[in-house]
Amino acid sequence: MAVAAARLPSPGGLRGLARNETLRNRVIVAGLLLLGVAYPFFYRMIPSAIPAPDLNNLIVMSYYAILALGLNIVVGFAGLLDLGYVAFFAIGAYTAAFLSSPHFDIHLTWWIVVWVAVAIAALSGILLGAPTLRLRGDYLAIVTLGFGEIVPLVFRNLPGDITGANQGIRPIDPPTIPLAGPWGDQLSFSNSNLQLALYLVLALLVFSYWLCQRMRDSRLGRAWMAIREDETAAASMGINTVNTKLLAFALGASLSGFAGAFVGAYQTAIFPESFRFSISITILVVVILGGMGSLRGAVVGAFALQYVNLTFLRWVGQYVNPPLNSVGRSTGIEFLENFVLHSYNFLIFGIVLVVMMVVRPEGLLPTRERKAELHGIGVAAEETAATADEVATHETALEEAGEAVTIEDLPPEDQKRDR
């Protein structure tokens, strides 16, 4: 025990380390942002031999990152499996559509609408959560899945003059900033100006990230994690688990509303068909791929997944498809003749997911805790009721032998708290 204590850095030292980390992280974030801001000016000069994403792809990646950050609050922080996250996305997008389109002839400015969308998504998170959050684990998962199916269906099935039915709602007013003088009359942040739309979504992403980071490093964040770890114990420590879980649902949903309001305005059109189950699954996959509970993981996961989906596979396909097609033509194998690589994106995702889970289940950028849970320090062989005691058992054995795993034993990159 004494050995372990002596090897530990002082708390002050640790905090100092944390400060350095923050500084480094900020420099990295600033660098990435600058790259994002500059990208529209030079990306067309990138030779086609390099699979660089175009602006639309970047925008899709960014709003998926926002969605993933939101779901990460629910799944990663609070440990609640939500399979119907797309519902809140739909609600956010529809709110934006109702409030700034000819549909009801309401044309509020997007800068107000986005906050209404956030509020309504959060509210629906509470409405769904209130009766169902006492369900445990997989039951909650299926209820949320059901909710995710119901919401778009209701938008689709209700009469057209209420929700636009299957035709959706269009055109939705894009976010604009009025301008005067030589620059024209306004700046429009939609798909008619991808550069501005990119800046808007990047700003939203940075804001969302900042929100999540602040929440995680607070009393609330600790309460979420405590619930994730052991709900009964958390309640016995004075945490109002119901309210805290509701808050996770509401705040997670609100980020989804954020992304929804952006997507509606960016695409200037929304359709109930866009909000399928596969979106919920894709976002969940992003969160897990990135590393549950990890904010950087959620962002990197979203960018990686959508990059592969939208850019990389097509790029590879340029080289792979033609030879395969000609082989198909000469051999008469229809499958090869019509082979288009990117149309098998979900096949490729499927393989990636399975391989990833088998090889690296903690995700691309896991939090320190998750990594510890899954590899190396303190891995219990069995997930049985006795796990905690088991691990404690073996740890005791080690510690008494002077082999306790301390923070210093971890490789340097593991020392920071992914924060």
Partner: protein
């Protein structure tokens, strides 16, 4: 209200429900033994419809056998064996290495398998639904006084395939040595190992059984609905999975009950409301049931320690 019509609708719902029950049991068995929502299960069922299609249009003619109800029925064991092996292989490849990983890891891997199987379906069958040769006559069998058919021959075949399978499964699980081993493994895997139960083999067995049932369900659907389609896994899987949860996931009787209940709900909603509202109704019922009975209709109450 037209009672005869209502009876017809109930009968349609019942037979639909039996098929759903077969798929639902696959979910519940796997959930019971390794607490995993096996997302790929619906797609294994889909492969069952595919195999039936190929069996009838390619394999049987290949052997010079005419596709008929009898020759089709002879396909069942082969289809069940193939889907069983596929399901068990999925477990071997995608779930077993994750036996000790956190809960979400096998779930994601299951989603991955589901994507893979769907694409296999697309590659094998193409993107559009394909009509399965109709070998299942729908001649009326029980006709009501008003002249409407209550039960037709094809429904009887559905019942004749599904009900014995359900009963055989119930017998297997409650009364055979292997069935008990399955239950023991589900309740405490490590202790089961200490009893001399080969845990890995028992889990494989569970997947084999689930896969075989899915294959049988795929066969029945392919014949009964007359289509094979790569997309089938999703709507059927969703319905079956919902049934399993509705009945209390992990509980075999519950899954069967849930399947039949949802079959009835679906046919009633399709007829009396509108098909496009059916999923809304199904999921609303699910949510309401779970809010009032958080572990499903027949789910075990939370164990209360004293």
């Amino acid at each position: 209200m037209d009672l005869e019509q209502f009876a017809v609708i109930l009968s349609i719902g019942l037979f639909n429900g039996l098929i759903v029950a077969l798929v639902a049991i696959g979910y519940t068995l796997v959930y019971g033994i390794i607490e995993l929502i096996n997302f790929a299960h619906g797609d294994v069922f889909m492969l069952g419809t595919l195999l039936t299609y190929f069996g009838l249009v390619a394999i049987l003619p290949g052997f010079g056998v005419e596709a008929s109800l009898i020759s089709a029925l002879a396909l069942i064991p082969f289809i069940m064996v193939i889907t069983a092996v596929i399901n068990a292989s999925i477990e071997r490849v995608a779930y077993r290495p994750l036996r000790n990983a956190p809960r979400l890891a096998p779930l994601i891997s299951a989603i991955g398998m589901s994507f893979i199987l769907q694409n296999v379906g697309i590659i094998l069958l193409g993107p559009s639904p394909k009509a399965v040769p109709s070998v299942l006559p729908n001649d009326p069998l029980i006709v009501m006084p008003g002249g409407r058919t209550l039960i037709s021959l094809n429904e009887v075949v559905v019942g004749a395939v599904t009900i014995p399978l359900l009963l055989a499964l119930a017998y297997f699980v409650t009364s055979t040595r292997q069935g008990k081993a399955m239950r023991a493994t589900a309740q405490d895997r490590e202790a089961a190992g200490l009893m001399g139960i080969n845990v890995n083999r028992t889990i494989s067995q569970t997947f084999l059984i689930g896969g075989a049932l899915a294959g049988a369900a795929g066969f029945v659907v392919a014949l009964f609905l007359g289509q094979a389609w790569w997309f089938f896994g999703f709507p059927f899987g969703l319905l079956a999975f919902t049934s399993a949860v509705l009945g209390g996931i992990g509980n075999i009787t519950g899954a069967a009950l849930g399947g039949i209940v949802l079959g009835l709900v679906k046919s009633i909603s399709d007829f009396y409301i509108e098909a496009r509202w059916t999923n809304v109704i199904v999921f609303s019922i699910l949510i309401i049931v779970l809010v009032f009975r958080p572990t499903g209709l027949l789910g075990a109450k939370q164990a209360e320690g004293a």
